[in-house]
Symmetry: C2
Subunit: 373 residues, 2 copies
């Protein structure tokens, strides 16, 4: 195999696929990227950890066809340090030679025969095409509320539904729940049947990062039995759908709240960060006391001491004391794109909803923590 390519194209391709490599696994070939010529003008890069496979195409000038695998990390390190634009790659049985101006590298690789076969083709019967930006934004808004990534834990998944022109995405780890609704352009909007899928939060995080490295207005998603293929520009993510009964989260969201506070996001963030210095790492509890246009925050750590802070807010309801894991609230505040946030309250033990004041379609529900004493 022999081809030449533009340095940035190849480096960008490696950056996209290397997210699926397994660096210190039992199979050394999974730390590598499979490089295959595709006709005279393209090279295909593939990496997989069996959970996710990422495939991307780059432009190249192919002189001799073939395929081979090379360590993704070394390849990325080399490419990022090269000065010139044009790179030549020539492959032998056990190594590749990269030349670029005065630089030359021989990299030991592994035969393409040892690389797992990835089936990227899928029936186009059940597909949807969605705008990249609102889809990637929705991912960022909900993904942190999912449970930590584990293959078989449904709560590490994100529910995603497109019904006509409405995208709804939600995730919950049992202690909090993020849900977003967005109006999107959906080229398959005529379909009567909504498009539904449950994907691992990890797949969606990777997709959101890849969307920043590519240059495409729309994402195409096709599913077939257990399998799903997400196509964005020249990149495909191949993975499995998650199956099972995801909690009926919309039933968990109270329809109305007797009390509402409106709080400046910056003030809340900085007061919470101050108070959190004196919170025990184990439970991360901060007490919120709402009364008379004032929010009093307090933290307590048996070993270190305690902390209190007070900020002006808009709140005219009955006084209410409630406690939260402050890390959940800070995560919401980091995502919320508005100057003010709304807190919708009921009682010290009932679900509380945080939302940006300017964006009615995004809510972040947090279960409070019971206060002792």
């Amino acid at each position: 195999m022999k081809f030449s390519a533009n340095k940035d194209d190849l480096l960008n391709g490696i950056k996209i696929v290397e997210r699926a490599t397994v660096v210190k696994g039992l199979q050394p070939v999974l730390a590598n990227v499979l490089i295959e010529t595709e006709g005279a003008n393209q090279v295909k890069l593939t990496a997989t950890d069996f959970d996710i496979s990422i495939i991307t195409l780059i432009d190249a000038h192919v002189e001799d066809e073939g395929k081979f695998t090379l360590p993704a990390k070394k390849l990325g390190e080399i490419l990022s340090r090269l000065n010139d634009d044009l790179i030549n790659l020539e492959f032998s049985d056990s190594a590749a030679t990269i030349t670029c101006k005065n630089s030359k590298f021989d990299i030991i690789g592994i035969s393409a025969n040892e690389f797992p076969r990835i089936e990227e083709n899928i029936s186009e019967d059940d597909c949807m095409e969605i705008e990249t930006k609102p889809f990637a934004k929705a991912i960022r808004q909900v993904v942190s509320a999912a449970a930590g990534y584990e293959t078989n834990n449904l709560l590490s998944g994100v529910v995603c539904e497109v019904n006509k022109n409405i995208l709804e995405m939600a995730a919950t780890d049992g202690n909090r729940l993020a849900r977003v609704r967005e109006v999107v352009q959906n080229k398959s909007a005529d379909d009567e049947k909504p498009f539904e899928m449950l994907l691992s939060s990890r797949v969606l995080s990777e997709l959101s990062k890849i969307s920043l490295l590519t240059d495409s207005d729309s994402i195409k998603i096709c599913k077939e039995k257990k399998k799903i293929v997400i196509t964005i520009d020249k990149t495909k993510i191949v993975t499995n759908l998650m199956f099972g009964q995801f909690p009926k989260y919309n039933q968990l969201i109270p329809q109305s709240f007797p009390k509402e506070a409106v709080i400046d996001k910056y003030n809340l963030t900085s007061a919470l960060e101050r108070v959190a210095v004196m919170v025990s790492e184990k439970n991360s509890i901060v007490k919120f006391e709402f009364a008379d246009n004032t929010l009093k925050l307090s933290g307590d750590s048996p070993e270190a001491g305690n902390s209190q802070d007070e900020i002006d807010i808009k709140y005219t309801g009955e006084p209410l004391a409630i406690a939260f894991n402050y890390k959940f609230i800070l995560e919401f505040l980091k995502i919320a794109e508005s100057e003010e946030v709304k807190v919708e309250l009921n009682s010290p033990l009932s679900a509380t909803v945080f939302a940006p004041v300017s964006d009615e379609d995004y809510i972040y529900l947090v279960m409070p923590v019971q206060l002792r004493g």
Copy 2:
């Protein structure tokens, strides 16, 4: 004890002294900073790990005298998150209360009686006073050549000599040697006896960092038997001198070299970083081949492959192949403040001197590595 202070003054003071705290040691009080009132307008902060003690004074409005210790890390975290300038501190037997506008913290501390006594006073018989900037620059130029910090290893020390108006500083770990000479203003320059000291590289690194946090043109250094006190602005570092026979390093530096190369620093740095991708982490060897105004660099890693690069240089001597630990060379290139560097060569196994072309007074000697085969 009760006092008020400016937030930035107190935070800066904590940042200076906390470098000497011991975070996870056997004695919890060493993670704390000792806070003592000094008259009506100053507060003294002290931290120690027994190797180094750092003491600094800050301006304060003292209402009640006293002393107490508080955890340096928590205190720094709290101060850095406060919004307002004026901070009030009030101390009880077991805790301190910090108030600042709407924020209030109770921090659990440890009695000052448990804090070790640091003797900061020293006879002024053997002192020198030196300009801060050239002294701090000399530290940065040599300190990385010292061996890793160990209390009793002489090679982890830095030799420092002031003779009239000449400062000479040197460090070596046995594989490389950095030496710098600077003309400095020395207020005790009339002394006939040069001022000499061997200090641990760690003390000098701390001093160089503290010099960036303070605002003083000169550093005063006094020694007495084993002890040394370094005063910079309102901060004192108290530590011990190292004793023993430091290598006679000036004898190790060849007086003349038959071959000399002049190399663009940027080109050498980037070529070396490229070639180093394919160098085994264990020995870090890069081969340098000088010939005909060209430098060829090559690396080899049994597992990963090999690399070669070539740059144009000024070199008209006999061809010479020599190998170095590339990390030493990159460290020198990072410190050297010039566009071109000079490499003075003798034979493949003899000491080689790297120096910035514009700065004759700084040299970085590196022992080559023997090439196999």
